[in-house]
Symmetry: C3
Subunit: 345 residues, 3 copies
């Protein structure tokens, strides 16, 4: 990890430096844990109390907090973004020279650029193409005809089905599976007959795919993950789904087949989205919400059912079965009362 001067960090982050340009930091820490030589940041009111006593050498913060900062400061409108850039620079991993571990099994027809690293126990299929600077971590499996862009990293234990395309600078976590068959079956008098899944998965640039996430190949056409999409762990992307640019989806979410999600959308954890619908750009779905119809307007959509003490739940949720009846009885009462009042007058 390199030591970086505050002047350099101001340049990297685009923040305005208040303090000692030559002072150097080598690592980061939370405000209340930082010591001399460390960088910290203030991104949430929750942590503001720790600012005056911090021992950090420099804090990234907004201008409104500058007065309470006991050390050098990097002032910016978006401290979290500046922190992301500073930490990325401080924790830059040493560039590895290209190498293929002798235990990796690489098909002789694969085209591997010179600077690619392929770690131990990987299996790389026929006609695979891997561009410069890619890192294929240990025990990955890459089936035939896969194309991997420059600088993409498969952390370890990733499995890519045949004919999948990954763009540049993607980051794929362990146990993720890209390009397994979609769940497509025809019914033959009760028995299921497999429908061959012939499409690909096309993943854009700068895409992140989390641990144990599965992205299925298209049935005929392709499943498409656009540039800048971020997928957390244990997400299910069905066949023919299309995810728009810079959409981010939290863990445990599932999106059923042929659904199109717009750009700049977010989904919190454990969302379920029905198949064959469309979500506009800038749609935000709350956690544990079921999206059963297309959403045409940007905005926040929710169906989370918040927990309550169990005894309270027993009483209230039993009434869910009576809701329609209650609504009808309410209407009857309204009519009757109106009639009563009319009689009186």
């Amino acid at each position: 990890m390199p030591d970086l001067s505050l002047a350099k960090l101001a340049e990297i982050t685009g923040a305005t430096l208040h303090g000692e340009a030559d002072c150097c930091v080598s690592s980061v820490a939370a405000l209340d844990q930082a010591t001399a030589g460390q960088l910290s940041f203030l991104t949430s009111a929750r942590f503001r109390q720790h600012l005056p006593e911090t021992l950090a050498s420099v804090v990234i913060l907004q201008t409104g907090d500058l007065d309470h900062c006991p050390c050098s400061a990097l002032v910016t409108d978006n401290p979290y973004l500046a922190y992301a850039k500073a930490a990325t620079a401080l924790y830059a991993e040493a560039r590895r020279d290209g190498s293929i571990h002798p235990s990796a099994v690489v098909d002789k027809t694969a085209e591997i650029a010179a600077s690619v690293c392929i770690d131990a126990n990987c299996t790389i299929g026929a006609r695979v193409k891997i561009a410069e600077g890619a890192i294929i971590g240990a025990n990955c499996v890459i089936a035939e005809d896969v194309v991997i862009g420059a600088g993409t990293r498969l952390v370890a234990s990733v499995t890519l089905g045949k004919n999948i395309q990954l763009g540049a600078r993607c980051l794929i976590y362990p146990s993720a599976v890209i390009g397994s068959d979609g769940f497509g079956m025809a019914n033959d008098a009760g028995r299921w007959v497999k429908v061959p899944q012939l499409g690909r998965v096309i993943v854009g640039d700068d895409v992140e795919i989390g641990a144990c996430t599965a992205v299925d190949r298209g049935a005929i056409q392709d499943t498409i993950i656009a540039n800048g999409v971020k997928l957390d762990n244990q997400i299910h992307i069905s066949h023919n789904v299309e995810l728009g640019e810079h959409t981010a989806i939290a863990a445990g979410t599932g999106i059923a087949g042929s659904t199109k999600v717009g750009a700049y959308c977010t989904m919190a954890g454990a969302v379920g989205v029905a198949g064959h619908i469309e979500l506009a750009d800038h749609v935000h779905i709350s956690g544990l919400t079921a999206v059963t119809r297309s959403i045409k307007e940007p905005g926040i959509y929710t169906s989370t059912v918040p927990a309550m003490p169990h005894a309270k739940w027993r009483k209230n949720f039993a009434r869910l079965k009576q809701l329609d009846e209650m609504a009808r009885r309410l209407k009857v009462l309204e009519k009757e009362l109106a009639a009563t009042k009319k009689e009186e007058t």
Copy 2:
């Protein structure tokens, strides 16, 4: 991929050919994307608009659509099933000769049939038996005493626990785990003590198990997946669960311990099924539904809570806590109004 004549495809699919028996196709495409030499199909009203202009050489469709078909047609009651069969024939993979990759580690007591393929970096345990035509893709782990039926394929990166049985023609996707221990623990004054999980997983013929799906072994008796069951990605099947024949379950569903699901059932995505209950045959569960009790009658069951705009949700869902109170107040009003009216008369 073989070229097939329409006469041959009529034979394979059981459909009635209207058009040129000698015409050949070599691949499939959607109606609006197909070109000469391709087969297409019409299975949904959604795509009917594309039929008159399709450039496909042949379309699989129902008799009612025949008049609008500009090319040869294969007419059948179930076009999706016929398409499944046609596509399977057109995209048949070349049969591989049996082979064990030198990097695979196969215990010397394993019994591997001559036509089995075992790909790179696999680990096969003691006394494992693998029948003719099975394909064990790269980086799979098969623990001791596993039995695998003829023609079964582990795509890659599959892990099978000891003593598991898989039937014939199964298809298991990457990162799937069959035969990990069930979640069985006794409580000892607050601390959990592991209960050994001694049962097996018995998987029938023609079963499909999706990526990142986990099927736990039984506690004492076995977990049973019957013939023809299809499991999508990231499904959790707990210890001692029994799934009936030809039941299909979509991604993200979890079934708790000792529950018995009937035959010909379907579950849409992200369903949760409680433990120690029974579902009859032909039960269909909608997506994101909680099944908390046994279901004795065939039919569709649902508790999906559909998303609404967040502001609307805030207002309405806060009332869930008041539902029982509302029901009581409604009853009081009904009584009071009835009393008022009685007085009047």
Copy 3:
């Protein structure tokens, strides 16, 4: 598997033996399946009917059931716990001698204790430390600087990210991932910029982590799994989460970032817990429940929405959107009726 005398089993389980101390059993079975030479147990009223006819040689049960036991009995207040101990003893696996399979790739700087087993096709990184008696099953990947405690077992196909610590006697199932990056991103005018995830995962002693479960490393500080925690399959633990001692979580649950869960908690399957909240000790969450706020009092909390026949659901759930309106109309009615009655008097 050893034969054990009932006297020995009484000693192991702490139960009181009624019957033949010298009688030996070698395996376990359910009450209605057991034969001579087998041990069985009665832990649930559901199975009481099978006790009088059981052919088991010995049954673990509570004192109230002793009169109906046709064979020897081990009497205890907690038969399930006693069964866990007895079965553990009966099915003890033979201790393996330390060994590193020649196909495993172990960095030369790793410190592997003499009694450790490392199975085929594993990849072990630089400076990894593995303590006595640990078993690293086939095809595991352990990144650099990981520390693994004595007696811990990675079943197979487990991936550990760099710098992770596992305590003693942990049990980790296939396709589990510990130490992938947390889902931390700053937003730069719509685009997501990765925030380096610099913390570790610290796992205590006697922790069980299920198949396809993913535990993310902390952003700056660590993700912490305390002693005795049990995690089922396909669970998602986000960055900086802290799980208290002896908490047990069933499959499919997700816990969002920085949330602290107390000790002795339980969560049933498919629970979702929001980020940045705290759950007290002894909190129990029902299946398919959304925890959106901190819970300060021990107890059971629930928001499960139970399934109903689909037609009933259509009628009732459409009313959810009207709930606030219904509540307001109810209030109006109450006022009007009160006014009517006042007029009358």
